[in-house]
């Protein structure tokens, strides 16, 4: 059971991606919990997550989040903007699992 956290300005556009990622996870039988939050809620929710993915439009938050991520001991990455635009749940899910495994 892995926990994937997504963050953007209001958690709106990342929540679109969450739905697509959940579909991809379900069809492949991967056991994950995926949720999206607004940027101010992200540091708190990181404690419950195994990885943090940041919406590319908020990539200037990475430095700030990186500090918390290091404390909590989870990897983080800015979502690829092509995959974000296509709402490519499968690609983002794969990348998230890869980040968790290689961490």
């Amino acid at each position: 059971m892995k926990n994937i956290l997504l963050a953007c300005s209001a958690g709106m556009s990342t929540s679109l991606l969450v739905t697509k990622m959940e579909e991809a996870a379900k069809s492949r039988g991967v056991d994950v919990t995926i949720w999206a939050v607004s940027q101010d809620k992200a540091p708190k929710d990181m404690e419950k997550a195994d990885v943090l993915l940041i919406g590319p439009q908020m990539r200037f938050m990475k430095k700030k989040f990186a500090k918390v991520a290091e404390e909590v001991g989870i990897p983080l990455e800015v979502i690829d903007s092509m995959a974000y635009g296509r709402l490519d749940g499968e690609a983002v899910l794969n990348r998230a699992m890869e980040l968790i495994e290689t961490h």
Binding site: M12, L16, D40, P56, Q57, M58, R59, F60, S81, R86
Partner: protein
């Protein structure tokens, strides 16, 4: 190649700027402080909308209508009209939490400090705090007070001054002074500020901040030239895939909310609305058109003229979220970011919409924003109607703007669509 170099040069400048504006602790506290107040502001807005339901004043008697409005009045009077109070508590709380100190004290100390600086007499009647001082008029003073009180309180806490108790006094007793001393010192500073200002021609610090800072800034911010520059800057940020609106909001929200509140006061008094550019001018007429850059019009255009599979798929993907002004799929998927062809309509359309909206309101064709805060996720047409105080002209203006955006985008989207279509045919 030259083009790419220029782009990466621009980005190397914009990214640190976005970082600085968005991660600055004061601007973060300011933005989060407004977030704290937002549910209350929207609650008040809902009841302004209900109290001013269209045509109701013509259906029921004037007495019944007045009673109806009086019954609903406290909803907005206790929230929207005195929003400054909630923003101040929010800022004090968030900034103190940022320093890892007991945040609720940060909130209440900021509030007390603000009330110390606020006039407490109205037309020679003592013991009265005019609610006007707690809304738009006190907004800037409130923000500065919240910053300063949180900083002072933090400073005094970090000094660690305590009252030494003799041995045998329980630890909890001496601890109870740990919050008392910093708060007493902080609030004493504000009392001193109040006394000092009473000797000046400004009489109150409220008046000083209002005259020296708030009035010049709001006059500048309500103008068309400044607004166009801000709109262009937002578009440039987004062109580089950075959330322009949230970056700009953290600086301009105090100005836009203040202008908004001035209109609300006038709207509720039945007077002429002073401002055109307000929070709702930005949120409804610029963002509330499918998201920053009015991309709902682009989606409609894709459905109308799109031939390529890529754009048609994108239209289907982006439409449901676009109706609620969430447009990241379009921005990153079209893509709009870093697309040298699309930069032209991307920069041009919002400026055209800004100018059209401004002048239709200036000419009186469309009522000005009534000071009601409509959530930014409210679909277009409806949010224009609500923002202008239930005026159908607000919705029509958005429809017209939508058409203007489509006309500006049309030639560029056609070229993009043709490129995609040709590539798809070659691949097939």
């Amino acid at each position: 190649m030259e083009n790419n170099k220029f782009m990466s040069f621009l980005e190397s400048f914009l990214l640190p700027l976005a970082d600085a504006l968005n991660n600055n602790r004061y601007l973060t506290a300011l933005r989060d402080g407004f977030m704290v107040a937002l549910p209350l502001i929207i609650f008040g807005s809902i009841f302004v909308v209900i109290a001013n339901f269209p045509f109701l004043d013509r259906v029921i008697s004037p007495e019944a209508f007045a009673a109806y409005q009086n019954a609903l009045g406290p909803a907005s009077a206790a929230t929207l009209s005195i929003m400054g109070l909630f923003v101040i508590i929010g800022i004090g709380y968030k900034l103190t939490a940022h320093y890892g100190q007991d945040a609720i004290y940060g909130g209440v100390v900021a509030l007390a400090a603000f009330l110390i600086l606020t006039p407490q007499v109205l037309e020679d009647v003592p013991g009265v705090i005019p609610t006007s001082a707690l809304g738009a008029q006190g907004m800037f003073l409130g923000i500065f007070t919240a910053f300063l009180s949180a900083e002072l309180n933090r400073f005094f806490i970090e000094r660690g001054w305590t009252i030494k108790m003799p041995a045998g006094v329980p630890a909890a007793v001496s601890k109870s002074f740990s919050a008392l001393i910093p708060i007493t010192l902080t609030l004493s500073v504000f009392l001193l500020i109040r006394v000092l200002f009473s000797f000046t021609t400004f009489e109150t610090m409220q008046n000083f901040i209002f005259t020296i800072i708030q009035q010049p800034l709001t006059i500048l911010g309500s103008g068309l030239p400044a607004t166009i520059i801000i709109v262009l800057l937002t578009q440039v940020f987004w062109f580089f895939g950075l959330h322009g609106q949230i970056i700009i909001n953290s600086v301009f929200d105090p100005i836009w909310f203040t202008l908004n509140d001035q209109n609300l006061v006038a709207f509720q008094a039945g007077e002429a609305l002073p401002n055109i550019v307000t929070k709702q001018f930005i949120d409804s007429f610029l963002v509330g058109m499918g998201g920053t850059g009015m991309t709902l019009a682009v989606i409609v255009l894709i459905f109308a003229i799109g031939k390529s599979r890529q754009l048609k798929e994108l239209g289907k993907l982006g439409a449901p979220a676009g109706v609620f002004n969430v447009n990241e799929p379009i921005i990153f998927g079209l893509p709009i970011i870093m697309n040298p062809l699309i930069i032209i309509p991307w920069m041009l359309a919002p400026v055209a919409v800004t100018v059209i909206t401004y002048y239709s309101m200036a000419a009186g064709l469309v009522p000005r924003p009534a000071g009601i805060i409509v959530p930014w996720t409210t679909p277009p047409i409806l949010n224009g109607f609500l923002a202008t105080g239930n005026a159908w002209q607000g919705g029509v203006l958005q429809a017209v703007n939508m058409l203007v955006v489509m006309v500006i985008w049309w030639p560029f989207l056609r070229i993009l669509d043709k490129n995609y279509y040709d590539t798809e045919r070659e691949e097939a």
